[in-house]
Structures are given as C-alpha cells and as structure tokens.
Subunit: 375 residues, 2 copies
Amino acid sequence: MEAIPRGLKGVVVADTELGDVRGEEGFYHYRQYSAPELAEKRSFEDVAHLLIEGSLPGPAQRAGFAAEYRPLRHLPASVVALLPPVAAGCPVPLTCLRTLLSHVAGVEAMPAIVDADAPVLRANLLRLSALAPTLVAAIHRTAQGLELVPPRDDLGEAANYLWMINGEEPDPDRSRALDQYLVLALDHGFNASTFTARVVASTGADAGAALVAALGALSGPRHGGSPSRVLDMFDAIGEPERAEAWITDAVTRGARIMGFGHPVYKTADPRSKMLRGIAEQFGGPLVDFAVEVERTVERVLADLKPGGELHTNVEYYAAVVMHLCGLPCALFTPTFAVSRIVGWGAQVLEQAKDSAIIRPSARYVGPPPPQPVES
Amino acid sequence: MEAIPRGLKGVVVADTELGDVRGEEGFYHYRQYSAPELAEKRSFEDVAHLLIEGSLPGPAQRAGFAAEYRPLRHLPASVVALLPPVAAGCPVPLTCLRTLLSHVAGVEAMPAIVDADAPVLRANLLRLSALAPTLVAAIHRTAQGLELVPPRDDLGEAANYLWMINGEEPDPDRSRALDQYLVLALDHGFNASTFTARVVASTGADAGAALVAALGALSGPRHGGSPSRVLDMFDAIGEPERAEAWITDAVTRGARIMGFGHPVYKTADPRSKMLRGIAEQFGGPLVDFAVEVERTVERVLADLKPGGELHTNVEYYAAVVMHLCGLPCALFTPTFAVSRIVGWGAQVLEQAKDSAIIRPSARYVGPPPPQPVES
C-alpha cells in the first residue's frame, strides 16, 4: 500500500479518449477538437454525437441521430403521475430530477452494465439524457402550477428546452446562445461528478445508478455548477457604483466571490471567455453590470492580493447568458446538468469497456483491534 | 502525474477510524472491536451507536439512542403518497428505495454538507438510515397489494423490520438472528459503495446525495451483495444428490458459483462462518442442503482447480439466514442495504471532516487536439 495525494489530486486513474483540460493553457477539448470551437461551429446534438459515437456527424448522420434522439424526449406515463407529488414536495429542481431519473431507470428496467451489450447501454444513456431536459421543464412547470408543454421533435436541443419551459417559440438568437452554452458544459475533464459516474459504472450497475450518483456529486457546492449564485451576488451588490466597496469588503472578510476561481485553470477559463462574447452580443444593462463587476473584482484583487490571479469561471457569464435566454435562476444548475449528463453518458460508455471495479483502500488509524466486547 | 494500479487497487485514499478488513487473517473490525464479536454480544442499535457516535453505549446511552432513533422510522406523508406509483412502476425494490430516499432528502430540505454542522449532518443521516427499513417494508407491501404496517417504537431494529414486512409479531430467535446479520453487514472496509458515498460527500453535497449514490454503487453486480442468487443456485441444483454433477459442470464451463469467493478474503469469510453457525442453530432441510453444497463445491474445486482456495462469502449463508427469518428473496439485497446505509452514514460523517474534494485525473490518449472543426 502506498499513500497518495490528498483527494487523489493529480493522480491518473483512467485513460480517456473523451477529452482533457489543460489548465495552464486555458484550453479544453472534446476528443480531438477544441470545445469552444465546437460551440462556435456545431450544434449541441452534433457534439453529443461526437462524444457518444466518436465522430462529428455528416448531414445524414445528423438527421439519423436527431430522428433517434428527439423521440426519446417524451415522458413515460408513470413519470407524469409522479411529477405533482415530487415537484410539490421538494423545492430543489436538481433533487427532483435525481428522484425522477432514478425512477425512470427502474420503470424501464435498465439492465446492469455487466449484463448489457454496448448498444443497450448506449440506448439507456441516450434515453436518460434525452429525458433530462423534459424532466427539468416539467418539474419547473409543475411547481409553477402550469400545464406541461410536450417536447417538439422538429426543434434542436436548446430550442426545444426553451419551448418546454416557456411554452413559446424561442427566438433563434436565444436558442443558439443557449445551445452554445450547452456545448461548453458537456464535459470538463475528470471532475468529481464524472469520476462518481465512472466509479458506479465500474461496479457494473445500470446507467441510471451511474447518472443519479453523478447528479448527487454535481449538487455539492465544492463541485461548482451553481451559476445562480452569481446573480444573487449581483443582487447583493445592487448598483454598479457599489461594486468596489462591496467587493473590497468581501475580499477583506475572506468571503468567496461567486463565479471566480477554478481549481484547474490558472489563466482565464475558456468557457467564460466565450460566454462573455455571447453575452456581449446581446448587450444590455445586466451585461454591462457583469463586465463592470468583473473588472472591479480583478482590480480589487490585484490591489489586495497581488500575484494571486483570479479570473471568472464558467459560472459567471453562464448565469448572464442563461438569464438573457429566458431561464429562471432556479433552473441554472439543472440546465448545466442537462448538458453534463450527456458527457457522463459518454464517460460511462468508456468505463464500461474496463472490467475492473474502482475500489481503493483506506488506512485504519484507530485503536488496535480486537479489544474485548462486553455484553 | 503518476499512473497508479488499475481500479486504485491497494491505493490508500483516506485515513479512517471506522474499521478495516484483514483479508489474509479472515478478520474484520468496527473501530477497535471484532465485528463478529459485536454481532454475538451486541444489538444492531448498539453497533450503529458505536459507528456513528464513536463508542459502544451503556444502558442510559442505549435508551437515549433508541428514544431518538426509533421515532425517525415513521414515513412522512409526502412519501406515502409516492409509494403506489413508485412501487407499481418499478419492479426492483432497491431502485424504489433509491428513488424514495432521494425524494425524502429533497422534501426534508437536507442542507449541503458544507453548510451543515456535524449535529445536523448526523441527524440527516440518522433520519435516512431509520427510514430505509420502513421504506423497504412499505415498497414490499405496496407491491404485494397489502396495507402498510407502521413501525413500532418498542421493537429493536430486526424485530421492527420483520414486523413491518410481515405484519406479525416476530419470534425472538428469528429477530435475534436477523439482528446479528444486520450487525455483520454494517460496514466492510473501503468497498466501492463506501468509496462512492465518500466521493459524493467530498463535494459537500447533502446526506441524501451521498447515500443515494452509494445505493447505486451497491446495485452493481461486481460489488456483491446479492444473496438471492444463492437460493436461485440451490433451486437450479434441485436435489443434494445432483450437487456434485451440477457443480462439476459449472466449474468446467467456467461459470461463477454464487456465494463463493471474495476479492479481499484469502481465507474463510468471517461473516460466512458466523452466519453458518446461526443457520445451523435453526437447522432443517435448507441448512443441510446448503452445508452439503458448500462441502461439494470445496471438494470439486480442490479436484478441478487445486491450489485455488475458494470459500463461501457473506452472501452464501446470509441467503439461508434471511430465508429462515422469513424474508422474501426480493428483499435480500435491500436488507443488506438497510444495514449498510448506517455504515455509509458513519463514513460520510468521517469524510465531512475533510475539506478536500476527491477529484483525480485521467490521461488523454486520443488524437492530438486541436484538429480544425468544419462548420
């Protein structure tokens, strides 16, 4: 037995062809392509195809994938029945999503990974991925006392998602902006939720078990993925003129500035850079405010903590973009999950090729056993 | 970055005071006590107290723990409403348990671990642990079309569990035998489900997220914990006289013999030894059959695969004991989970003291990026 770094930091536990994050360079990629370049040039469905199937689709493959994927969005009746009690009882949409996905995997009797061949596992993962946006929209509308809006097979990922949430034909710019965000959020190296999905997959459990576990990990505040906290901070700051005083106070108190800092990126987060560009195309007071706060934070930090580079992470402009696209704050993290679940699916498919269970050891550090037990 | 053994085998990722497994010696312990000795001399609630609180209780602590723990067994109304659609739609009780525990954590608004102080986290974990047996019994009775049997605060863990499942006052020998099994199943080193619980806890997610994820890992066939497969094997063998031919054929074909072999124990599994003793106290044709099959398997393997020691694992006599105690096969794995969830709770409490997220790395092995993306 050998001791290794705390939290397994920097320890390589798997080989992957799905992508990587180069923190020093501010670069990340899906397979052999730059993720931001994919977001610029391709749709969410194209990039989902890249991750799941291994290649970017041509026109015929694109149509074939859409024809397979989009009909999988429709809710089974047994889930529709569960929506009112789940959404009424549980105020956190991400937790409702976890509960309902767990139920779908059970209702549809998804087989254990060790008993499923690759096409069956792929079909199960696609099914759960395709249902996730429908479930998030349904949870939201049920909680709001609104009728459900069924998915539309003629719309791409983001357009259909906005349609199901708002019940209105979304404008193409907003659909495109959200689709780009969803591409950027698909995967991001070997983070804790991705690792969780792979650990559970390594036990041979079904696709639902792996994705439900990953959703749990994603909900952890240390994981990140809670962009709504950024808008909460904007609310707390209130006016652009108050930004400097508010941030100085926060930094002095050692409070965390929401949407800043990342464990891997030592330079600007490439997701943040692209999302800022998308936000600036829309413009408006929120975007101006966000840019002003970003500048102020960087200036205050340079003054108070010289040498400690701190940049916006994905959450910062993701919050702005999602708000501009018409998503309510409560759905920011679930929207991140709707994208990432496809990435987890690709990770589970890759893990399923390895027959080794991921089962490390612990070192016992308590008093020596066996001490006698008194009856 | 350094490469490490496949599946993290033998890699120490945490320090623990909760216990350990010494595979070479056929010994495992909870804190400083032999686990089988605890099962012999103490109740499930006493040993739960040991794991959660850190010490075996004296009489006053025992009464205090029962007074706190047993009232937590009662189902909230919002879960009662969910039972019929969940149990009717999903045939696997362990999956129903996962779905319903996920919902409870949401309904009761359990806070993120990073936001919860230790007493709140402890209370959340106790609540979910105390509800698990009630949920399993309720899932079973709902699926059978039977009225629910509410928990009884005057009964210990196993007696109350049998009461809720069968609706009859259990006989003391069966309650005691099942209680001993539950003690033996509480914890067992750093297996994949325990590790999963700790990874999710390390993100700072709530108690429900960690336990739900662990349930998913437990459901994996490579994890083990499916004792009902042993009775399926007995059914397939049919008659004691057919055991030798059946097993010889299975070994020759390379098929897995259910209830035999363990990745850590190189000698007899101490849980199996104790459960065999418990089964033999009951006696009867099933016990005789199980002992006969065990002998036959060991003899056939010694002939066909000399040198390869293979002994019964926990599943083998656990199946026999659970059957003798009146549990239906479909509840064998959920019953294991009902015990282990308390162990996961203790592991989550321990993990919560560490602020480091568990976030390893992967090595990218695909084609070099960035390749140009065609629009």
